[in-house]
Symmetry: C2
Subunit: 109 residues, 2 copies
């Protein structure tokens, strides 16, 4: 089970992007930009990083009207994100499986 801490995913804005995409399958560029509250260039660059890592695909459906950009995670991107989340939960002291055992131990072994 991939439980890898992924620096590419960890960066604040990229973590938010991944979280959003993991929950909605795909989103529009402008929407993402507004939610994150960053400039076009900033979102564009983060998307490129994720894309270069093979974590997301960018599509520009060339239908009627202006070309809007849509992005969504690839299977690999979902795995990387899920793995990162697992790694973080493991860090937080959550056994990933049971909702139990997350209580304050207070004492170290």
């Amino acid at each position: 089970m991939s439980e890898r801490f992924d620096e590419v995913v960890h960066a604040p804005n990229r973590l938010r992007i991944c979280a959003l995409l993991a929950a909605s399958s795909s989103a529009e560029f402008a929407v993402l930009r507004d939610i994150l509250g960053v400039a076009d260039s900033v979102l564009s660059k983060h998307l490129k990083v994720l894309q270069d890592a093979g974590y997301l695909v960018i599509s520009k459906p060339t239908g009627r009207g202006r070309v809007k950009t849509w992005v969504s995670l690839t299977a690999e991107g979902r795995r990387a994100y899920a793995g990162h989340v697992q790694a973080l939960k493991a860090l937080f002291g959550e056994p990933a499986g049971s909702p139990e055992a997350a209580r304050e131990h207070g004492r170290t072994r």
Copy 2:
């Protein structure tokens, strides 16, 4: 309830440091350095950042023998860490309260 995403805490190595300290109340410099696998200078600088933020205290018990450095989170540090963890869980889609609902939805609604 503070559910703040904290950049100071978010940095990979600092997040690890906080997680360790949150679970063990206090740790020795050398131990932390070995667990993180970084150079003395690197740990020293991260601790300083956390200290400057008021998140941890550094004590050098001047008893018998060499002076060893011990660090531990302050109440504020614990709050910041806990708050950050909550912010992340909220991002991941966990209601923060119930241990439920943390199951893979797989499908988006």
